[in-house]
Subunit: 181 residues, 2 copies
Amino acid sequence: MGVGDPLTPTGRVILGMVGLGKTTGYDIKQLVDRSTRFFWAASYGQIYPELRRLEQAGLLRGHEEPTGGRLRTVYELTDAGHRALEEWLGSDLDLVGEMRDEGMLKLFFSDLAGPERQLQIVRQMREALERKHAQLSALHSHASAMSSGPRLTLEYGLGATTWMIGWCRETERRLSGREAA
Amino acid sequence: MGVGDPLTPTGRVILGMVGLGKTTGYDIKQLVDRSTRFFWAASYGQIYPELRRLEQAGLLRGHEEPTGGRLRTVYELTDAGHRALEEWLGSDLDLVGEMRDEGMLKLFFSDLAGPERQLQIVRQMREALERKHAQLSALHSHASAMSSGPRLTLEYGLGATTWMIGWCRETERRLSGREAA
DNA sequence: CAGGTCATGTAAAGCGTTACATGATTTT
DNA sequence: AAAATCATGTAACGCTTTACATGACCTG
């Protein structure tokens, strides 16, 4: 596999995490769950096979570093890995997030269910957003210890979520008014 | 397959679209591409097999209705289909959008690439968002002809995108300032 | 009559989650 | 001694995209 090979989706997050100093599959998963999860998740079922694929492709180098009798494989970027990471970070992005939001889909079809249901859907969207906002807020308490990139993504997520909660609130108000009228 | 069976992801959008009066696979795909695509896409490779699965499950009924010599299978909701659709629309939503945003992922790792790259990434995010905003705006010109659900999702998408563009703009300003300083 | 739209489909490949399985070390 | 954490992995299943393939009808 040559250097020009495009990274797979999960390959991107793994390469980045190893670049940030995360060394084991477990360690990567931990940080993903505490940070990128909100816009880019990854599961063990993807991480471990992908680590080996990236090693085979020459972008990572792994060596055994057991802690006592506990197995442990530590990965680091090779020169080719560094280059691939910089190439990816410098490349254009054409795809904007293909996202899936079930609340939005329900809202789209909500005319089929009647006005009370429509209001209920917006309320549920808001509640889900509020849960998300709470999780992001919890992370934000460590913001001072974050470097620029992670802090920016967190503030973006927090701000966007806040806007969306506000939209839901105002829409709930408008829809309730319509019912009362 | 009983009524209590959970709908597959694509099953949901198809059932909804048939509920809205879309009758053929082609027709469904057209509307998806002009509307829900921004938060819920679907491809022919999913639509046609899923239509048959939903028919087998008793939620849809399909019959041949050729236009001249041109094959055409028209679907409609069965009673069970109506019930399944209402059940889904009335159910709680626990999952908030699992989304994937490559711009955010790049921004997260942007410290590895230097300050100019970081600025470049935010600029690219804004440009992608502006393209999306333009597409949504084009749809919005027909807003008066839309029913409540579709109009709400469109306005939500437009508003959220506008907020995000503003965030990018302000962040670009802040990051440029930092460079100049 | 050429190009666009209507209309349907399949096969292969890739992506991803979930559930399962194992075992050592550390903390309470 | 139990519970939590560290650590790695696989198998099955399901979802989705992409590329390919076909052909009729309509418009200029």
